[in-house]
C-alpha cells in the first residue's frame, strides 16, 4: 500500500459548487497534514495545514482530518475558476513530508 493515495482526477465542477477533495494515508505516525495547491507550470504553494484530527477553516476552504480512518479531506465552498489547479495532500511527521500525487480540479465558469 502506498503511503499516500489521491484520486488524480480530473475533477470538473461548475462554478459555485462545493468541492470535496480526498486523500488516504497508511502511516499512523503522520501528525501534521498539509494541503498544497499547484497551478499549471508553477511550483506548489501551501494552502492550509492542520495538526491531528479535526477541522480547520480558512475562508472558503475547510481541511478535515480523521486519524482513526486515516482520511484527509479538503472542502472548497463557492468554487471559483481561479481555484482550478492541482491539489496535493501532504501528511508529514517530524522527519519528512510525503506528497500525494494530487487531484486536478477544473472549475467550469
Amino acid at each position: 500500500q502506498k503511503e499516500v493515495e489521491q484520486d488524480p482526477g480530473p475533477l470538473s465542477v461548475p462554478e459555485g459548487a462545493i468541492v470535496s477533495l480526498n486523500c488516504t494515508y497508511s502511516n499512523s505516525a503522520f501528525q501534521y497534514f498539509m494541503w498544497y495547491r499547484q497551478y499549471s507550470r508553477k511550483g506548489p504553494e501551501l494552502l492550509m495545514y492542520t495538526y491531528s484530527s479535526g477541522n480547520k477553516e480558512d475562508g472558503r476552504f475547510t481541511a478535515q482530518v480523521d486519524k482513526s480512518s486515516k482520511y484527509i479531506s479538503l472542502f472548497i465552498r463557492d468554487s471559483q475558476p481561479s481555484d482550478s489547479a492541482t491539489y496535493l495532500c501532504a501528511p508529514n511527521r517530524d522527519d519528512k513530508i510525503i506528497f500525494g500525487k494530487g487531484t486536478r480540479l477544473h472549475i467550469l465558469p
Partner: protein, 115 residues
Amino acid sequence: DTAVSQTPKYLVTQMGNDKSIKCEQNLGHDTMYWYKQDSKKFLKIMFSYNNKELIINETVPNRFSPKSPDKAHLNLHINSLELGDSAVYFCASSEKGGGGLDEQFFGPGTRLTVL
C-alpha cells in the same frame, strides 16, 4: 523579489550529456530540497540539505549529485542523462526542515527534456 529561484527554466539536451540546475533562496532558510515531478505529476523528494549538510538522500541514481556551496544555494548536477530523467525538477526551501509544520517554499521548476 523572488523567494526561491531556479535556472534554467527549460533545459533540452541529448542523452549522455551532463547538465546542472541551480537554485537560490533569499528567505534565510536553513533547509533546501530537490524534488522530481514526473509526467504523472508525482512529486517525489530526491535530496534535502540543512545548512549545507545532506539530510535526506532518497533512492536516486548516483548520476545525480547535489552540491550546496552555502545555505542559500543548492545545485543539482546530473551526469550521463537518460530519457527517464525527463521531468520537472523543483527546488524548495523551508525554515527548519524535517517535516512538521515547516512550510516549504517552491521554486518555479526546471523542465528537463532528454532527447
